[in-house]
C-alpha cells in the first residue's frame, strides 16, 4: 500500500518513544492485582481480569497521549511540509498516521498483556485461552478506537495546547461518565438513580456502556462470564454474589431475565467499531477539506 512506509515510520516513532513503554509497564503494574473477589469470580481467569483492570485505566490515556500529537506535532515543527509533499492523498496520510500509531500502541499493549499472562501463568497456573484471546482482540479494538480519537483531536486542532485540552476533556468526561449519565437520566425522567438499586431502565444502562472503556469492560466481562456490566469484572461478580450490596450497574441485578436486546454484551463490538469509524471519518472530512497547513 502507498501509505505503508508512513505507517512503518509512525509505528517506529511510537515504539521508540518512552511513552509507549511507560504505558505498557503501567498496565502491568496496575493490572496485576490478586484479589479474593477476583479469584472467587473467575478463578484462574483472574489473569485475564488483570489485563482488563490495567487496560481499562491506562490504555485510553496512553493511546491518546501517543496519538494526539500525530498531526499537530508535525504542524508545529513544520515537518508536515515533507509529509504533505509525499505521493499520498490526504486520506492516505491519515490512514498511515492512524494505522502506524495503532500498530505502535497495539504492540506495546500486547506486550503488556503477554507480560500479565506470563505472571498469571506462574502465579495461578493456566487460564482459559478463549477469554484471553478474546480480551486481546477487545483490547486492540479499544486501542484502535482511542488512536482514532487521538488522530481526530490532532486533525481538528491547530495548536498543541488546544489538542491537549481536548484530550483532557475527553478523559474527564469518560472518568465521570457514570455520574453524568445518571444526572442526565434523573433530570429527564425525574427518577433518582440509586446505584445500589438501579432502576431497570434500558436507555440508562445503554448510555453507561457507550464510552470506549465502558464497551470494553462489557465485552471482556462477557468473555469472562461474570455478568453484563461496564464495571470491572470483580465488582460485577461481587454485585451478583448473594448477600452483598455494591454500588454497581449490572444488568442481571437490575432486570429480570437479561434486559432488553440492545444490552447484549456482543453489541459492544459495534460500539467500539463506531468509536473507530466515526472519529476517522470526521478526521478525514476535516483533513481533506481546505488548507492542510
Amino acid at each position: 500500500m502507498r501509505w505503508s512506509p508512513l505507517a512503518r515510520s509512525e509505528s517506529r516513532t511510537v515504539l521508540t518513544s518512552k511513552g509507549a513503554w511507560i504505558l505498557a509497564s503501567l498496565v502491568v503494574l496496575w493490572g496485576f492485582r490478586p484479589t479474593y473477589a477476583g479469584w472467587d469470580a473467575v478463578g484462574r481467569n483472574i489473569t485475564v481480569g488483570y489485563i482488563q483492570i490495567g487496560v481499562d485505566l491506562f490504555l485510553p490515556i496512553g493511546a491518546l497521549l501517543v496519538s494526539y500529537q500525530s498531526l499537530i506535532g508535525e504542524r508545529t515543527t513544520g515537518s508536515i511540509k515533507f509529509l504533505l509533499g509525499l505521493p499520498l492523498t490526504r486520506t492516505q496520510i491519515l490512514l498511515g498516521k492512524a494505522s502506524g500509531r495503532f500498530v505502535g500502541v497495539g504492540a506495546a499493549i500486547v506486550a503488556a498483556a503477554l507480560a500479565l499472562a506470563g505472571i498469571g501463568l506462574v502465579e495461578h497456573g493456566p487460564f482459559g485461552l478463549l477469554p484471553f484471546l478474546g480480551t486481546l482482540v477487545a483490547t486492540l479494538l479499544l486501542a484502535s478506537a482511542m488512536v482514532a480519537v487521538g488522530v481526530l483531536v490532532s486533525t481538528v486542532t491547530r495548536r498543541t495546547v488546544t489538542a491537549a485540552t481536548g484530550v483532557f476533556a475527553y478523559l474527564l468526561v469518560t472518568l465521570f461518565w457514570t455520574q453524568i449519565v445518571t444526572s442526565v437520566y434523573t433530570a429527564i425522567t425525574g427518577v433518582p438513580v440509586d446505584p445500589y438499586e438501579a432502576p431497570a431502565s434500558g436507555p440508562l444502562f445503554l448510555a453507561l456502556r457507550l464510552t470506549p472503556d465502558g464497551a470494553y469492560n462489557v465485552l471482556t466481562n462477557w468473555l469472562l462470564d461474570v455478568g453484563n456490566s461496564a464495571e470491572l469484572f470483580h465488582i460485577v461478580a461481587t454485585k451478583l454474589a448473594p448477600g452483598v450490596s455494591v454500588n454497581a450497574f449490572v444488568v442481571e441485578a437490575a432486570f429480570d431475565g437479561g434486559g432488553p436486546w440492545y444490552l447484549h454484551p456482543a453489541l459492544s463490538v459495534v460500539v467500539l467499531l463506531v468509536w473507530v469509524g466515526v472519529p476517522m471519518a470526521l478526521a478525514r472530512r476535516i483533513f481533506t477539506e481546505g488548507d492542510a497547513l
Partner: protein, 251 residues
Amino acid sequence: MSSSAPAIEADAVTKEYGDVRAVDSLDLVVERGETYGFLGPNGAGKSTTIGLLLDYLRPTSGTVRVLGKDPRRDVVEVHDRVGVLPDRFGLYEDRSARQHVSFVAEAKRVDDAPESLLERVGLGDAVDDDAGDFSSGMEQRLALAMALVGDPELLILDEPFSGLDPHGVRRVRDIVHEETQRGATVFFSSHVLGQVELVCDRIGVLHEGRLVAEGTLDELRDRTASPDDATVEDVFVELTDARVDDGGERR
C-alpha cells in the same frame, strides 16, 4: 498530453485568508526544462503560491496545473514526479539523515541510495547523524537531498539558499545545473537576488500577491528602462518600488 503540458500553469489563481489576499489573480506558465526564478520580498506570496502548486493549500479561485495534472485530484501522481524543498520546514529530530531520505524514497517507491544523494548535497559524512543535531545549513542540505529523491521531473525549491554558507550556495547552484542538464524543470523562489541571475533562464517578480513582471533578465532590464549592466537587484528594486506606489493608490 501531459508530457507536452507546461511544468506549471496557474490561471487567475487567487488565495485569500479572510480579508487578506495572499495571491492575487496569478497567471503563471513555467515550461518544461526551464529554470524559473520566482522573486519577491518576504511576504509577497511566494510560499503561498508554492503551497497552492503542491495542494498544501487550496486556491480561493482559479486553477492550478502541475505537469498537466490537477495538484488536488492527481496529488499522488504530481507528488511522485515533483521534488520539494519547502520553506520554514522542520525535520524529524530523532531520525538520521539517511532515515529522512529513505523515508521519501520508500514513499516514492524508488531505490535511490541515500548515501549518494547525501554525498551530492555535501552531507556525506553525516549520513547517520541525527537531524536534531544539524545546523540550519545542514538541515537545508538534507531537505534538498530529500527533494532530489527519484529524479523528479519538476523541482520546487522554496528559498533554497537560505541558511547556506558560500560553499553551500555554490553546491545548490551546481545541483540546479545538473538537474536541468538531466532535463528537469526547476522552479525556485528567492529573495536572495544575486543567485538568481547566475541560475535562471527566466524570472518572475511577485509583489503583494501579484506577478508584476516576468521575462529574462534582459527583458526585465528593458521593461524597467534599466541600464544594460543593471543587476537583477536593480531591476527588482525598480519593479517593487513601482508596485509599492501602485499599492498606495489602490488603497
